[in-house]
């Protein structure tokens, strides 16, 4: 328990640091979105209009401390400013609108990839020397292939050539969002290819990681003893070997869960999927600092939460950390 409280304190401190950096970085950079806009219009803007825009975007000339206090106050109320790309929509609304799509597709795909990859890794280590070893070269190959390449290949083969799957949007134009079977079907249909991309591209890491740790674990005395005890192979494999081999893999899983929120930018772009990755790209293209800032903040907090969950999982799964 003491351990968890200490970790919690550490994460709160880190979250504060992330929030502060998030506040400081845009302000340390020269110029602001209005300056950029004015520059783009070659300076043909009425000073009164500039002033109005500055107020609308919430840019003030108050001293840094005052700004920082205001920023923290706004943050506490979930106020992240207004997006410039989608003006006058608020950043929090933009994020709230795109985050569920990303969490749905990237999150579920990451989970599937983790569970399936881990199970396959365990089986491959257990049955090494059989035909399952044939998966190894394939996994090594997939390990080396970048996400966007898989995405492009899938779009080309199944989207454009065979036309089995749609290649853009999160649901068809002709369905009305709502809790209907038709809408759910459309969403699943559109999410299939991006999800398959992520599963294919990230599963190889899980397979190889789990298999390697598992092979080492199988040589441990407690696995031999479990076998000598006359337990069923299934029990030896899962309750003794895999149960221990999974421990080093938890951290990497937590990290990848944290980055789920950041979206799979390239995958989302290739599939024109309206997730947070696409929003981030749009924000970068339009120099939309409030939006980028908001997204980065959400990502950093998600990574911290995921890390805390990993610590929690560790305490539950490994009694040696419970001091």
């Amino acid at each position: 328990m003491r351990f968890l409280l200490r970790r919690l304190g550490f994460y709160l401190l880190t979250a504060w640091a992330a929030v502060t950096l998030n506040f400081l970085i845009p302000r340390l950079m020269p110029g602001d979105p209005v300056d950029l806009l004015v520059a783009r219009l070659k300076g043909n803007v009425d000073p009164a209009a500039i002033d109005a825009m500055k107020r609308a975007f919430g840019i003030s000339d108050a001293n840094l401390w005052q700004q920082y206090v205001d920023y923290l106050g706004n943050l506490a109320q979930g106020e992240l400013g207004r997006s410039i790309t989608f003006f006058p929509t608020e950043v929090s609304t933009v994020i709230a609108g795109s985050l569920p799509w990303t969490i749905g597709v990237v999150g579920v795909a990451t989970l599937i990839s983790y569970v399936a990859g881990t199970a396959l890794g365990v089986l491959m280590a257990w049955k090494r020397g059989t035909w399952l070893d044939g998966v190894l070269p394939a996994a090594t190959f997939m390990h080396a292939v970048p996400y966007f390449w898989v995405a492009l290949a899938l779009v080309f083969v199944f989207g454009v050539t065979l036309e089995w799957f749609p290649v853009s949007r999160a649901y068809a134009l002709d369905v009305v969002p709502g809790f209907t079977g038709e809408f759910a079907g459309s969403v699943l249909y559109h999410a299939a290819l991006p999800a398959i991309t992520i599963v294919l591209a990230s599963m190889a890491d899980r397979i190889l990681g789990m298999r390697n740790v598992m092979v080492t674990t199988l040589g441990e005395d407690y696995v031999v003893m479990a076998e000598a005890k006359g337990l069923t192979s299934r029990r030896v494999m899962w309750a003794y070997a895999a149960r221990n081999a999974i421990l080093p893999n938890i951290t990497s899983f937590a990290l990848s869960l944290g980055f789920v929120v950041g979206g799979s930018v390239l995958t989302e772009i290739v599939f024109s999927y309206p997730g947070i990755g696409s929003m981030l790209l749009k924000g970068v293209e339009n120099e939309d600092f409030p939006l980028m800032q908001g997204i980065f903040l959400v990502i950093s907090l998600a990574v911290l939460v995921a890390n805390f969950l990993a610590d929690l999982a560790y305490v539950i799964l490994d009694p040696r950390t419970r001091q």
Partner: protein, 333 residues
């Protein structure tokens, strides 16, 4: 009566440079309820032999020849090497249990001691209720001198000696006929070692199981064993009662081992030790594998491999004195 009969057992390790005969043509009897010591240097094949008998060998190790017969109390027999997967699971732990070299590594670090006793009971005694199993676990731990609430503890919370006791408690769970103990006390300090050996003696008296006690510490075996088998380069070179080996070792290797440590009592004698190093099993010496290190070696030793031959008090594989080994009567100590 013998509870286990090993005949002509051979185990090879397949390696890139050919097969390594880690255990070659070993024949050994284990009598019901006795403590058989298995001694030899590191790499002499003691652990491989034990693992072969328990069917725990993993590739690249494989049994190439021989048989292992197990005889139950009711007189029925089983060919251990021919057991199918299901029979093998039933044979394991119920008839033959193992205490591994280091209890530090043989206990599952993420499961409680109680759970590790419980899963044996659950598999082998499916009729037992949860409560009965918990009581049995507590009783076993108490029996080996561990407080019963330690069953909720994890291995890392126990000291080295306690872990070894816990491993023994797990081995006792089903009252097996045979317990193979592979260097169970090697990693422990002498005081704890003595306690545990004492405990093993008491338990053996109470439950009547036979023990194969593997160690490189021959002086320890002299004290606790009924009979001792000495292995060299994968073969048994001498078997005999502890008393026969102590007073009149027939094999020069046994003599060398015995005279590698000073005696506490009795006349002072020169410490001999054994010159040279254990043989490389990839290319073992011809004839008797011990001849390059033997102080009694003669011409025939490098040509002819000695077979185990009966001698008073045991058996020996040595060509000296027409196959009865060296004449090395030591004064009783």
């Amino acid at each position: 009566m013998n509870v286990l009969e090993v005949r002509g057992l051979g185990v090879d390790y397949q390696s890139a440079t050919g097969a390594v005969h880690a255990v070659a043509d070993v024949s050994l009897d284990l009598r019901r309820g006795e403590l058989l010591g298995l001694a030899g240097e590191s790499g002499s094949g003691k652990t491989t032999l034990a693992n072969a008998v328990a069917r725990l060998l993993r590739p690249p190790a494989a049994i190439t020849s021989g048989s292992v017969r197990y005889r139950r109390r009711d007189g029925t027999e089983a060919d251990v090497l021919a057991l199918g997967p299901k029979q093998l699971r039933a044979f394991r732990w119920k008839e033959l249990a193992v205490v591994f070299q280091s209890a530090m590594n043989s206990l599952n670090p993420v499961a409680t001691i109680g759970a590790q006793i419980d899963d044996v009971l659950r598999i082998h005694a499916p009729g037992m209720s949860r409560k009965a199993r918990a009581e049995r676990a507590a009783e076993l731990l108490r029996r080996v001198g561990i407080n019963a609430d330690r069953r909720r503890g994890y291995p890392h919370e126990l000291s080295g000696g306690m872990r070894q006791r816990a491993a023994i408690a797990i081995a006792l769970a089903l009252n097996p006929e045979i317990i193979i103990m592979d260097e169970p006390t090697t990693a422990l300090d002498v005081v704890v070692q003595r306690d545990i050996l004492h405990e093993i003696g008491d338990l053996r008296e109470e439950y009547g199981f036979a023990v194969v006690f593997i160690t490189h510490d021959l002086s320890l075996l002299m004290e606790i064993s009924d009979r001792i088998a000495v292995m060299y380069a994968g073969r048994v070179v001498e078997v005999g009662t502890a008393r026969a080996l102590r007073t009149a070792p027939r094999h020069p290797y046994t003599e060398g081992l015995l005279r590698s440590f000073p005696r506490l009592r009795g006349p002072r004698e020169e410490l001999l030790g054994i010159p040279g190093t254990p043989p490389d099993l990839r290319s073992p010496p011809s004839g008797c594998a011990f001849h390059p290190r033997c102080r009694y070696a003669f011409d025939g030793c490098s040509d002819q491999r000695p077979e185990l031959r009966p001698v008073p008090g045991g058996e020996v594989a040595c060509l000296l004195n027409e196959g009865t080994g060296a004449d090395t009567v030591r004064e009783a100590s």
